[in-house]
């Protein structure tokens, strides 16, 4: 057996934090989980597998070994926490962070007749699995090449093709006991390792989880959104669990407790919203290293009480220099650091939203807001629609996209419609809480700054209903907010665009249409957890055979981490909440579709056809032409504009074109002001 890490000098009681967690160490299938001197080059050495004894060896666990095991197990919990990415990958997929293999956990074998073997029966168990899966005469042979033991769990990594058959061994009888076979979940494993923390080998995983959950429950005030982790040393429940029997155990317990906390939530937004304030007061902390994982678990808290600890200077807190980006209140009274000359300046610099430091106001809300002030004022959306073409399309689109993507495609996408997706994996986000990865998207992302090969650029754009449909159906199901009840969560802008290809091929100068840009958010389910993401999406729509006489020509979607909707909330006049329907649009006077007081023509924005600041002469002339043809033909602004832009803004040609189309019955009722 190869051993990737050597034992620390000082042997069993060394107990330093090992840098490699189980998921990473597993890369070569080799890991020194336990007393490495044992379970060495025995048995199946030439198979390339390294099977070895696990943390919970039942027989002969003399005290030093138990202790060593304890430390190792806790260290794994720690390094898993330090190695967030791979830990998360496991939680999400129940499989290895890398490569194309699935991790399966097998439990229940500890009490088998084979448990008296020196390796606790691991070898027998692996042979058992291999024998069972190879009992069928046909097909390739199953062989476990990677495995490891975590507490009571044997984790085997197998090619995904074997997953299903291996899982069928669940409940089968192995050496006198029924084994449990399921997809591996590292969060369960952490709890398994917590068994050791409790110092009691008989405690069950569920029991430990229960104890920790109960302790957290007593310390959590949901109404106040406060988690009070002060005076942990005085906690009799923790004392009863033996947490403080050694300083090492004590320091390693905290990350595991954070893990248990995280496991209580089914979505990152729920977790984020549960707690706004955390107290770590009176914990004799000299620096944040022991509790540092808290900065991931509670990344978005507003209030943090660190009073009456032993922080001496900024160096004692430097690990949190870039954490807690939303912190507004910080209490460091009763720490020497508070009396250092650089204290206030440093904290103000570290935490841009900090307003109250040691119960004194150090920054006003206005000053915090001013940091976000932009040189370009934020205005209500520019929404230049007519006859509600864009509005109807957008309303239909997001409801249908969540419920029936195929129908949406059949309605609005034709052979020339294009769709592509890009993921901005590094986009700024409003919350610091860890979010799920982009596995379901990234293989199709057409971010041209990363996708530079022509073939990939060609493969990642989808043309026509069939290809777009296949692509959409391969993306996760989504849930967008309801536009009528949560208009503030969307920003929809729209204006005209000339020079589109004419679907009938009749107009060599092209036709007019609309470009619609939407910013918003959606929820999706990632392995049972709800993940909220933000998106930007631009459509070009032109005349076509879909509802309302339109079709989608272009559709580009950008997905990114959740970024909130505050950024587009107008600076002077915040968008009123829950003002239906679509106040984001109605709020823009230029887009008002109501019969406007100042204009004789229904459906025309106020000031249309009149010169205004920012309007070019050409624009004014074109608007006047639109008014003319609209008056003459009875067509809406939108169709009038299409007719003109499609005919090079030649009034006579546009009129002739209109008469032809009208004669052919090619104009939908929505093309007319009194239509529909």
């Amino acid at each position: 057996m190869k051993t990737m890490k050597s034992r620390r000098p000082g042997g069993a009681s060394g107990g330093g934090i090992r840098k490699r967690g189980p998921t990473r160490t597993d890369r070569d299938g080799d890991m020194d989980m336990d007393n490495s001197a044992r379970g060495g080059k025995r048995g199946r050495g030439d198979s390339g597998r390294s099977s070895r004894a696990g943390g919970g060896r039942s027989a002969g666990g003399s005290r030093p070994q138990t202790r060593d095991r304890t430390l190792n197990a806790i260290q794994q919990a720690i390094s898993e926490n330090n190695n967030k990415d791979s830990a998360q990958a496991n939680v999400r997929h129940g499989k290895g962070g890398k490569g194309n293999s699935t991790q399966i956990s097998i439990t229940g074998w500890r009490k088998s007749n084979a448990s008296t073997k020196r390796d606790g029966g691991v070898e027998n168990l692996i042979s058992f699995c291999e024998r069972k899966l190879n009992s069928a005469p046909k097909g390739s042979r199953f062989k476990v090449t990677k495995s490891r033991v975590e507490g009571d769990i044997l984790v085997v990594s197998v090619h995904p093709e074997w997953t299903e058959r291996l899982l069928q061994l669940n409940g089968k009888l192995f050496a006198g006991v029924n084994i449990t076979v399921e997809l591996y979940d590292s969060s369960t494993a952490v709890l398994g390792q917590q068994l050791a923390t409790s110092g009691s080998t008989s405690a069950s995983t569920a029991d430990t989880k229960l104890k920790i959950t109960s302790i957290l429950g007593k310390r959590f005030n949901p109404a106040a959104k406060l988690l009070d982790l002060s005076k942990l040393v005085d906690d009799t429940d923790l004392q009863a669990m033996g947490i403080f029997n050694s300083t090492t155990t004590q320091s390693k317990f905290f990350p595991a407790m954070m893990k248990v906390w995280e496991m209580q939530f089914t979505s990152s937004s729920e977790r984020r919203e549960a707690v706004e304030s955390v107290s770590l007061a009176q914990n004799q902390l000299a620096n944040v290293s022991v509790v540092t994982t808290m900065a991931q678990t509670f990344a978005d808290i507003k209030n943090l009480d660190l009073s009456n600890n032993n922080f001496k200077d900024s160096q004692s807190m430097v690990a949190w220099r870039w954490k807690f980006r939303n912190l507004e209140f910080l209490d460091l009274t009763g720490n020497d650091f508070s009396s250092k000359p650089d204290f206030k300046a440093t904290m103000l610099k570290w935490y841009p939203k900090l307003q109250t430091l040691n119960n004194v106001q150090v920054r006003t809300a206005e000053e915090v807001a001013a940091q976000k002030k932009t040189p370009i004022p934020i205005q209500a959306p520019h929404f230049q629609d007519d006859s509600q073409i864009a509005e109807n399309f957008i309303r239909t689109f997001f409801a249908s996209y969540d419920n029936n993507r195929n129908e949406l495609i059949n309605q609005f996408y034709d052979e020339n419609s294009k769709f592509s997706l890009n993921v901005n994996v590094q986009a700024p986000k409003v919350q610091q809480t860890e979010t799920a990865g982009w596995d379901s998207y990234i293989k199709r992302s057409r971010n041209l700054s990363k996708i530079t090969h022509l073939s990939a650029r060609m493969n990642r754009i989808y043309t026509g209903p069939q290809k777009i449909g296949e692509m959409w159906n391969s993306l996760p199901q989504t849930r967008h907010p309801d536009m009528a009840t949560h208009p503030e969560q969307f920003l929809v802008e729209c204006h005209q665009v000339p020079g589109l290809p004419d679907p009938t091929g009749q107009s060599p100068t092209g036709v007019g249409g609309l470009i619609i840009t939407v910013h918003g958010k959606f929820d999706e389910s990632v392995d049972g957890k709800v993940e909220t993401r933000s998106f930007d999406r631009s459509f070009i729509i032109g005349p076509g055979n879909g509802p309302g006489g339109i079709r989608v020509l272009n559709d580009i979607l950008c997905a990114r981490a959740y970024g909130g909707h505050e950024a587009w909330s107008p600076e002077s006049q915040p968008i009123p909440q829950a003002m239906a329907p679509m106040p984001a649009i109605a709020a823009n006077p230029a887009a008002s579709l109501a019969p406007a007081a100042a204009t004789a023509l229904p459906g025309f924005p106020e000031g249309y056809g009149a010169p205004a600041p920012g309007k070019t002469d050409t624009q004014v002339q074109q608007e006047q032409l639109v008014i003319q043809i609209s008056t003459k033909s009875g067509m809406t602004l939108q169709y009038s504009e299409m007719a003109l832009s499609g005919n090079g803004w030649n009034l006579d040609a546009a009129w002739k074109n209109f008469e032809e189309l009208k004669a052919q019955g090619a104009l939908p009722p929505t093309a007319f002001l009194n239509g529909a």
């Binding site: 890009n422 901005n424 020079g499 587009w568």
Partner: protein, 160 residues
Amino acid sequence: MATATDDTLTKVSTEGATEFVQSFYVALQSNRPSIELYYAAQPTTILFNGNQVADGAAVQEIFTNQMPTAKYEAQSFDCQIINRAYPSITPNGPKPPSEMTVKDMSILVMVSGHVRYGDGSDLPQRGFSETFVLIPNPTSDKGKRRKEWLIQSQNFRLVV
């Protein structure tokens, strides 16, 4: 115009968009006197956070005289061809199809990135999303600063 193959169309559009994205944000950042060159003579709509700006000259004026320094990073962008035979209007009227090349296409470009206004690394990075419609440059000058495609419409929004 000879019928271009899909790979030619993809190559021309994506390289055109890449060239545009790579140079336009540099211009906003450090070569503001060149901003106007990126715009069509008569753009349809130019929007910054919902504020409508008349044309390229006005954008350049705003960036030159009213904007602090700005550091942009286009983290992700994509493009699609809108019209592969865009009907450009030349001084002699609409450009006849016989004179069109593969570059006579209009392109939809969408950018996602971040921008930091002002000097100082402590200032916040704001997320933005920006959508452009690019049309072929109808002029035939051969100057070094000539852009192959020009902005017909632009919609910039801070989104984070």
